[in-house]
């Protein structure tokens, strides 16, 4: 029993960081949206990392899930806010729709794209993402290029005060919860059979099969987990929080690249990595934008280059090697 | 021809070679034996420069080449048949051989070299157009040796060339090695687990153990010493 808890020790630093972030945001005036931004990056990094870190498959089209999550929430609120008796229920419906759309996409993509290897997979996913975006615009579904704007609908059915609280606090708070959940699932997978199976998949898929690993099953599981978490982040941080969605604003590959950057800065396949990466990425961007608006990216880009040259395996990736065989070892994974 | 003195190297922070020294005489077959994990492959890779030496000195034809990059060493006529094969798996057998003749010197003699390797390994001629990756293990081994010959080397280092070959071919490989020495005057440094055949072919033998040379001498002496056989060779 004790042994089992020890296994989950690496969650401690992760959750501690989230807690500290939350407390800073909650008690220090003017910090909430900033920690929310950091939590957004951490949550995305952590969610993306579940699939990439464990299977080695790089999903360049990951933003599809975030976008579909946003659409799920938007559709839910847009179409169900007319039923007043639903009250807060529309948010639940939105979340369910978000999960549903993301699961559908994940299973379809898994059935087809997961048969591809390496970069073929990565870029096939870009194709899907772009194709989907232009399809929504072209076929004029879900409001087409005009998107969905539902802040008004939300206000009407829940009242101004509640909506204020929802959009500027609870939406962000739930991102924290998703980030923590992602960390927990990641840890759980790592420590169970699933983790072993996925490592085998990552290293040699054919050999894994011969060892008895149902590679498709485990890959799909990780893909689905990662996609659903991403969709949840989208539903909250882009949907509920912003009150509108445009296809051109959400199906943007740049956000996938941001996930990759966050994860790699911290260390791919590590648990604490996406948290540290999210902090480095979010904080440096935020502060530079404040200190030298307009020139921040000129400083930011070299910083990234320096970090990656100094820590090619990410900050935590390198730290993990350092703490090997020390007391800290069981906390940092 | 080749002199290695107190060479040290390893991977990351792990040292594998602890200062072995050896000499390969021109136009001879020198054999390097030793148990698994002794560092034989590491030594060959260090000689060729794939692994950067940490210390010690390598001289080739009276020239210090310790830190020369690999391609320059190949240019000087050193060739390696690597343990992991490292074939160009998506290229045809023929293209692999042509790649072997990459260095300018070799390119001039490419036709002769091709004829030579095809006569040494007729199977390769049959499979001329087949992708190297789809050859059987043994066929790939032959191709690796053939590709090394294509570089027109003065010295060939072979890392377990008979590994995975059927007995008939093992014999042929050893014959080939001896022929390369006798007929073409090549200098050969041979790493093998096939101790018997190796002792038969070589004119001088080193035994590497845990990164150090433990024994050296003529094959007859080595064969004759029951202690050595018991301790290092298992025969």
């Amino acid at each position: 029993m004790k042994k089992n808890i020890v296994k989950y020790y690496p969650l401690i630093p992760v959750l501690a960081v989230y807690l500290i972030m939350f407390l800073i945001g909650f008690f220090m005036p003017g910090m909430w949206q900033m920690v929310a931004l950091l939590a957004f990056y951490c949550a995305l990094g952590q969610s993306w990392n579940i699939f990439m870190g464990m299977t080695g498959y790089v999903d360049f089209g990951y933003v599809t899930f975030i976008a579909l999550g946003t659409y799920g929430m938007s559709l839910g609120i847009t179409y169900f806010s007319q039923f007043e008796w639903l009250g807060m229920g529309i948010i639940v419906i939105g979340l369910i729709l978000a999960m549903f759309l993301a699961a559908l996409a994940a299973l379809l993509e898994a059935a087809i794209a997961l048969r591809l290897r390496g970069a073929y997979f990565a870029i096939a996913c870009i194709g899907i993402n772009e194709g989907l975006r232009y399809f929504i615009e072209g076929a004029k579904i879900w409001g087409g290029s005009e998107g969905l704007i539902f802040f008004g609908a939300l206000t009407q059915s829940l009242g101004r005060e509640t909506v204020n609280q929802l959009t500027t606090f609870w939406a962000d708070f739930s991102v924290f919860v998703i980030a923590a959940l992602a960390a927990f699932l990641n840890m759980h997978y790592m420590r169970s059979k699933i983790g072993y199976a996925l490592t085998a998949v990552r290293e040699d898929e054919d050999a894994a099969k011969v060892m008895g690993v149902n590679t498709t099953k485990y890959k799909t599981l990780a893909f689905l987990t990662s996609g659903l978490l991403g969709a949840a982040v989208g539903a909250m941080a882009w949907g509920l929080k912003l009150g509108h969605v445009y296809p051109g604003d959400v199906f943007v590959i740049h956000y996938t690249i941001e996930c990759i950057v966050v994860v790699l800065l911290g260390g791919a396949g590590t648990l604490l990595g996406p948290v540290v990466g999210g902090l480095i990425y979010g904080l440096s961007k935020y502060w530079l934008a404040i200190i030298m608006p307009g020139f921040q990216l000129l400083i930011f880009a070299p910083i990234i280059i320096i970090i990656i040259v100094a820590f090619p395996e990410g900050v935590i990736g390198v730290l993990k090697q350092r703490v090997k065989r020390t007391a800290l070892e069981k906390y940092i994974v | 021809m080749l002199k290695v003195e107190n060479i040290e190297s390893g991977y990351g922070s792990m040292q594998v070679l602890w200062g072995p020294s050896l000499e390969v005489k021109k136009g001879s077959i020198t054999s390097l034996l030793g148990p698994n994990g002794a560092g034989k492959t590491t030594l060959l890779m260090t000689i060729l420069g794939s692994i950067e030496p940490w210390g010690g000195k390598i001289t080739y034809e009276d020239r210090e080449v310790t830190h020369l990059p690999t391609h320059k060493k190949v240019d000087l006529g050193i060739s390696l048949v690597p343990e992991g094969k490292h074939l160009f798996v998506d290229m045809s057998v023929h293209e692999n051989l042509v790649m072997g003749a990459y260095r300018k010197e070799a390119l001039k003699n490419i036709d002769d070299s091709l004829e030579l390797v095809y006569s040494l390994f007729p199977v390769l001629k049959e499979r001329d157009r087949q992708k190297a990756g789809t050859l059987s293990g043994g066929e790939q081994q032959m191709l690796t040796i053939a590709r090394a010959i294509m570089t027109k080397p003065k010295m060939i280092m072979l890392d377990e060339p008979s590994q995975g070959l059927a007995p008939k071919l093992v014999a042929e490989v050893f014959e080939t090695i001896q022929k390369l020495e006798a007929e073409f005057g090549l200098t050969i440094l041979l790493v093998e687990q096939n101790v018997v055949a190796s002792l038969n072919a070589a004119s001088y033998v080193y035994i590497l153990h845990e990164g150090r040379i433990k024994v050296e001498g003529n094959p007859e002496d080595i064969r004759g010493s029951a202690d050595i056989r018991e301790a290092y060779l298992g025969i």
Binding site: G30, W32, S145, T167, L242 | -
Partner: protein, 392 residues
């Protein structure tokens, strides 16, 4: 009450990313008008004291995540008194919930979507005119000069703003008894408009209205010329009015192209004109604005409508504060609702309830020999429309 010693405008500007161009202009416009308020006008008059305006801006990189966190910082850490929106409807919408939460007046000079104002935001106020009106004047103008030109083609970018413009144009054209022979959109960021334009060419329109952003507007005219599509009138939203447009296309292709605009260098709004229509006037004259703008950016570039909108917004805020003699958010918002005035930018009046701009009318400009000439409405015109448009 606390003594006030400064009034701060906060702005999560777009200095990098896809709206960097508009962002730079907006900052220049804001700075120019603040300069005027502080140094010419003498400061904002509140509680009998003249108080200087300050400006605090950050760079949101044209991204929604940036907007939300920076607006909150502006409100809570920098304690600004009013927030200006970033650019585009999407970014404006992204910031609105945070501004609402802090009951902060949120002024929009870059989000033209009508729908922003149907969401029940209580603190939002618009300076830029609504998208559905962009091509209304243009159509009136063509109808005025050539009632027989009936065949209209609409080809817009597939984005909310352009679609809204297209919808407005379609409705108005039908009202004028025109025939829409072609109505299509093209996706954002497309490299080659050839298929769409070839299709349009086959329909032989008299008048072509279209566009959406800067780069596609350039591409539009350029490829029309490549394909030898010659029409009597061509008007493109957003891009055609910018100086960069003419520079990019060169004389031949830009000549005669029209564009609707909220403001152009050359419009003739003046204190006298304001008096005539019974409106208050505030702010610099046009030439003074241009001078201050160049000084603010330290570059020799001409301000375009992005700059004018942002600048006029500063003036509107100053006016509203002075009218109410307070910087209290609710009071300022109420004051803005009632405010009606004119500046170098033209008329300014918002719908009290929604905050949507209703008092500003657009002008239509045309490129004539490298100069931007205002050709519509006739009372603001600085020159005569060249019609039909010269061949490419």
């Amino acid at each position: 009450a606390l003594a006030i010693d400064k009034v701060v405008i906060g702005h999560p500007a777009c200095l990098s990313g896809k709206y960097a161009k508009a962002g730079e202009q907006a900052i220049g416009g804001v700075k120019a008008c603040i300069d005027w308020v502080n140094n010419v006008y003498g400061g904002v008059l509140v509680a009998g004291k003249r108080i200087p305006l300050k400006y605090k801006y950050y760079d949101c990189e044209s991204k929604k995540e940036g907007v939300t966190s920076l607006i909150e910082r502006l409100i809570t850490v920098d304690k600004v008194n009013v927030v200006f929106s970033a650019y585009s409807s999407g970014l404006t919408l992204s910031g609105a919930p945070v501004a609402e939460r802090y009951n902060m007046v949120y002024m929009d000079h870059g989000g033209a979507s009508d729908r922003i104002f149907q969401q029940g935001f209580q603190y939002i106020v618009q300076t830029i005119g609504p998208g559905s009106k962009y091509h209304v004047g243009t159509l009136n103008m063509f109808d005025h000069f050539d009632p027989k030109a009936k065949k209209i083609a609409l080809a817009y970018e597939d984005s909310e703003f352009a679609r809204m413009t297209m919808g407005g144009a379609e409705k108005h054209a039908k009202k004028l008894g025109k025939k829409i022979v072609f109505m299509r959109t093209y996706p954002k960021g497309v490299t080659d408009l050839t298929p769409l334009l070839s299709d349009m060419k086959a329909k032989k329109p008299d008048i072509v209205l279209g566009g959406g952003h800067y780069e596609d507007g350039q591409l539009f005219a350029r490829q029309m010329s490549d394909l030898d599509i010659n029409v009597k009138g061509l008007s493109l939203v957003a891009s055609a009015t910018l100086p960069a447009y003419y520079k990019a296309l060169g004389g031949n292709i830009a000549e005669g192209v029209l564009g609707p605009s909220h403001w152009e260098y050359g419009v003739t709004f003046s204190p006298e004109g304001a008096m005539k229509v019974g409106l208050d006037w505030i702010g610099p004259g046009q030439d003074e604005f241009v001078k201050l703008f160049k000084k603010a950016l330290g570059k020799d570039i001409t301000p375009d409508y992005h700059a004018a909108e942002a600048g006029a917004q500063v003036l509107a805020y100053v006016k509203a504060v002075e009218n109410m003699n307070s910087i209290d958010q609710d009071k300022v918002r109420a004051s803005l609702g009632k405010l009606k005035f004119m500046s170098f930018y033209g008329g300014w009046d918002v719908d009290d309830k929604t905050g949507m701009q209703i008092g500003h009318s657009m002008v239509d400009m045309q490129w004539q020999k490298g100069k931007r000439v205002i050709v519509w409405p006739l009372e603001a015109a600085t020159g005569k429309l060249i019609y039909p448009k010269p061949k490419f």
